[in-house]
Each structure stands twice: as structure tokens, then as C-alpha cells.
């Protein structure tokens, strides 16, 4: 994974991150918000790593995306959405209007292919993640 070291959002805005983090319901702090080298990172993990100034924390700080998700490149967004979809229980399907109903694996395939359903799921997931910042939960 490429890290954008010129965009040091957290170094410059650590207080802002803490403010956003503080406003997230405790249960939702276990939400996956990043994937770094195949490792899913939750709000809690990001907070702890940054606060403890670990190597991972330093890497997270170099990524601008928690700003939130505005500047992620397409492949990174897809990777994040797929990782989040994997947490969906196997007995649940999503009704996507006239496109039909889709299982977890079918949704993941749609995201990988970036078909109409996949694009919709990506848009929906990003809206959800941005809602943390906007405080509309």
C-alpha cells in the first residue's frame, strides 16, 4: 500500500480526529474504517495506535483518508468496502430494488466488478462512513 506522506492529516489535525472519534457511539467504534496491508483497522485501533505513537499509528497518521474518505483512490475504497461486507452475517441478503436480492458474496463480487449494484454499495458504504463526520447518526 502506498502512503501519502505529504498529507499528514493526523499530525496536523489530531485534535479533530479525537473530536470525531469522541462523537462516535461506542459500539460503532469497532467499525472497520481502513485497511492497511490487508489488516482491517477500526476506529478504536486507529485511536489507540495514534495515541501510543506506534509505528502503525505513525502510518495511519500519514493517510489522509479518515478526513473522511474523500481522497481515497478507487482500489482502496473497494478494498475497504469489501472488508466491511465480509463482516455481514451469512444469513442476511440485501434487497437492491429491481436488481434483486444479493448475498454477502454476491455483493462482494459486484463491488469487485464495479457493476451497477457494486457502485451503489460503495456509494452507500461511503455515505455511512461520512455520516460519522457529519454526526448524522
Amino acid at each position: 500500500m502506498t502512503l501519502n506522506s505529504s498529507n499528514k492529516f493526523f499530525e496536523e489535525n489530531e485534535g479533530r480526529f479525537v473530536k470525531v472519534y469522541s462523537n462516535i457511539p461506542i459500539n460503532l467504534r469497532r467499525e472497520i474504517i481502513l485497511v492497511i496491508d490487508d489488516n482491517p483497522i477500526t476506529w478504536n485501533v486507529a485511536y489507540v495506535e495514534i495515541k501510543n505513537k506506534t509505528e502503525l499509528g505513525e502510518n495511519i497518521k500519514k493517510i489522509n483518508r479518515i478526513r473522511i474518505y474523500i481522497v481515497m483512490v478507487d482500489e482502496e475504497i473497494k478494498e475497504l468496502v469489501i472488508t466491511r461486507l465480509k463482516t455481514m452475517p451469512a444469513n442476511i441478503k440485501m434487497s437492491v430494488g429491481s436488481y434483486g436480492t444479493f448475498s454477502k458474496n454476491e455483493l462482494i463480487e459486484s463491488v469487485k466488478k464495479e457493476n451497477e449494484v457494486g457502485k451503489l454499495v460503495i456509494e452507500m458504504q461511503l455515505k455511512y462512513l461520512k455520516s460519522f463526520k457529519k454526526g448524522i447518526i
Partner: protein, 212 residues
């Protein structure tokens, strides 16, 4: 006579759920003074809808089914409403539980004396595959059903369109908060993300002061 028209096709998973959800509205409606016209399954066709709109002029029309930005669909995706017959909905309150229909068609229909409430994007909901034969018992789908049905229930209680719309948004938020606060449910994140999507895509167009 005050009529309420409900269309509820039933030919796939999505319409089967909407069909079931509408039963709750019908149960409530039957306790009111309104007369129900229930165009279900194969009766949810264009000819029947046009006939009811012309002859009975219902005050409230609730469409369930698929849709795109320019049409509302019925049984087997037959087009019920499009630009050619949308004038039949003038002066009415329309609630369209149908994907995308508020994007273009709703804007065309809504006006000073006509209200259109619907979704400007896909309407998403989750189902429990172990309960899909009995949608009314599906707890995963329940937040979507209750939120969606709130609009009709509030209208039937005599609230204005604006009040009913706000009630519905509030119902979505109540369910979002419920799942955000519940640590033990693995489906919470998936449900919340869909509820937020639907809440944000539900729009109220046209007259906001109307009531039944």
C-alpha cells in the same frame, strides 16, 4: 367517500416483502373511516390503476413495487405510472415505495396541490434468508418495514404531509440509534448503513400542508 388506493404486486423477494409490509397499513386503515382499494398481485396493473384513479379519485395513493426514475411499476414490472398518465395523480397525496421514482417522475407529478413522497435512489433493505418465507416475522427487515410504514400510518392519523414525513425520518433515526447502541448484534452495522441510505434518499416534493 374517502378512498385510499394501495398497489402491492408480489412476484419476487422484494415485492413479497413490500406486500407483507402493506398488510400492516391495511390493518391500520381498516380501523379508520377510509375505504381501501387494494390492487394486489396481478390486479396491480396499469388498466386497474387508471380505472381507480378516474372513477374513485382516492385521496391517498400508496405504490409498492419496483421503479426507475421515470416510472412506477406493478405486477411483473408492468408500468403503472409514467409521463403519459401521471396527470391522473393530480391533487392527491402519493407515497411511492419504489426505487428512484422521486428523482424524475415525482418531480413532474408534485405541485402546489399535489404531494409526492418517495425515494430518489434505490430503496435498500436487508432480509433474513431464514425468514424470507414469512416476511412479517423477519426481525432483520423490521426496522425498514416500520420506518417505511410510518409515513402511511401518520397520514392516516390525520397528520399533515410534512408532519408525516418528519415522523418517518424520526422512525429511521430511532432504529439507527437502537442498533448503534446495541453491542451484541453482528448485523447492526449492515442495518445502520442501509437505514441511513434510505433516510437520506426519502424526499418530500410539492405541497407540504396537505392532510387526509
Amino acid at each position: 367517500m374517502n378512498y385510499v388506493l394501495i398497489t402491492r404486486p408480489k412476484f419476487d423477494d422484494t415485492t413479497a416483502y413490500l406486500f407483507s409490509w402493506s398488510s400492516k397499513i391495511i390493518d391500520f386503515l381498516q380501523k379508520t373511516h377510509f375505504n381501501l382499494i387494494d390492487l394486489k398481485e396481478s390486479k396491480a396493473n396499469r388498466k386497474s390503476v387508471e380505472s381507480v384513479l378516474l372513477k374513485k379519485s382516492p385521496e391517498l395513493v400508496i405504490f409498492n413495487g419496483h421503479g426507475i426514475s421515470s416510472t412506477i411499476r406493478g405486477h411483473n414490472n408492468e408500468i403503472l405510472i409514467d409521463a403519459k398518465n401521471s396527470h391522473l395523480l393530480k391533487l392527491k397525496i402519493i407515497y411511492s415505495v419504489s426505487c428512484n421514482s422521486a428523482k424524475t417522475l415525482g418531480v413532474k407529478i408534485a405541485g402546489d396541490y399535489t404531494t409526492f413522497i418517495g425515494y430518489k435512489n434505490e430503496f435498500l433493505f436487508l432480509i433474513d434468508t431464514t425468514k424470507s418465507c414469512t416476511p412479517e416475522k423477519d426481525e432483520i427487515a423490521k426496522p425498514f418495514m416500520e420506518s417505511s410504514n410510518q409515513l402511511s400510518i401518520s397520514l392516516l392519523k390525520g397528520k399533515t404531509v410534512r408532519e408525516s414525513y418528519e415522523d418517518t425520518k424520526r422512525k429511521y433515526t430511532d432504529w439507527i440509534i437502537h442498533y448503534a447502541a446495541n453491542e451484541s448484534l453482528p448485523e447492526a452495522s449492515s442495518i445502520i448503513s442501509c437505514l441511513i441510505w434510505d433516510r437520506e434518499n426519502l424526499v418530500l416534493l410539492g405541497s407540504e400542508d396537505k392532510s387526509l
